[in-house]
Symmetry: C2
Subunit: 213 residues, 2 copies
Amino acid sequence: MSQRRGLLIILSSPSGAGKSTLSRALRDWDPTIRFSVSATTRSPRPGEIDGQDYHFLTEDQFKRDVASGEMLEHAHVFGNFYGSPKGPVQAAIDAGQDVLFDIDWQGAQQIRNSALGAHTLSIFILPPSITELHRRLVSRDQDSPDVIARRMQKSWDEISHWDGYDFVLVNDDLTKTTADLKTIVTATRLRRLQQPALMDHVRNLQLEFEDLT
Amino acid sequence: MSQRRGLLIILSSPSGAGKSTLSRALRDWDPTIRFSVSATTRSPRPGEIDGQDYHFLTEDQFKRDVASGEMLEHAHVFGNFYGSPKGPVQAAIDAGQDVLFDIDWQGAQQIRNSALGAHTLSIFILPPSITELHRRLVSRDQDSPDVIARRMQKSWDEISHWDGYDFVLVNDDLTKTTADLKTIVTATRLRRLQQPALMDHVRNLQLEFEDLT
C-alpha cells in the first residue's frame, strides 16, 4: 500500500480569476500532480487530442458511464455532456497521487458528495474585483453586449457558491496566492484521512502494549 | 473586525509522546498563540500561580460555571474537576489569536462538539513505539508495577482515540514533526471559516457586479 492516499484537489473560480495560471504553478511545483481529463460528447476542435484535452465519447457511451457510476460528476451544458471519469482518479489516489480538477461549482458539489468526498480538498479563487473580470471579457472577445452580459452573469453565479469550499483565496497577488496554495496542499496531504499507514502503526502499538502488560 | 478568526488548536497524545515540547515549539514560533489555562477544583501545589498554571476554583464556582455554559469542556478526575473556561478563548479567537489546548481525548471531543467546534484544529501525536513510553514511565517514577500498569492503560486509552482528530503525526523525528505542525497551523489559518473578511469581499463583488449589469 502507498504511504499516503492522494487528494482530489478541486480548483474553482469565475473565468479570468487566475485559475489556469495557478493550476500550472501547482503542476510545476509538483509534477506528480495529475490533471483530471474530462469526458465530453461534443466534437473535437481542431488540434484537440483524445485522452489529453478530453476523452471524446458518444452520447451512448457517456450515458452508459453515468448509469454505471463511472462519472464522478457530470453536467449537460449547451447541448453537450461533460463529466469526470472515476477510474483514473481512483487509481491515482490509491497510488498516492493527487488529482487536480478544474471544474465549476456544480462539479465540485457532486464530487464533494460522492464516495470520494472525504478525500477532496476544495479551493475557490476569488478575483480582487469584478471590474477587472469584466475588462478581460470585453477586451478578449468581439462579442455582443448580450453575450458579455451572459458571461458576467455566469461569473457571478460561480462566485455566489464560494462558501461551499474548504479554502477561499482572493487572488490579488499571484505570488502570495501560489505560496498559499502550496502550503494548503502540503498540509492537507498530512490529514489523517490521507494517511492509511496510520492504522497499521496503531495496530503495532497495540501489539506492543499487549506484550508489555 | 479582525482580519481572521483564531483557531482552537487541540494537541492530544499519551504522556511521553513529546506534546509539551511541541507545544513550546509552536509558541516559540508564534508568540501570539495563547495557552488555554485550565480551571480546577484541586488545591494549588507549592509554586503554582493562580491564573497562570490553573484557575483555582471552589467546587461551587466550578459547578456554577458549568451550569451557565462557561466551560468549553470539563471532566471529573480522581475527585477533582478540571475544565477549560470559554470566555478567554472566545475573546482570543474573535481578536484573531489562536488558543492552544493541551487536553485529552475527552476534552477534545467536547470542544469539537461545542459551539466553537467549527474553529478547532485537532492534532494527535503518536509515539513511534510503546516500548519507549513504557521506559520513560518506569525510569521517571519510583512507583509500584500496579501504578505503572495503570498509567500504561491510560496511555493506551488515549491512543485508542487517535481517529477522532483532523491530523495524526507520528513523532519519530522532532524536527520533522515540528515543521509539519507549523505547516498545518499556517494552512488551517487560511481555511474559509477562519476568514470572516471574505463575506465582506463577496458583498463588494456583488455591488460591483450590480453596477456593471
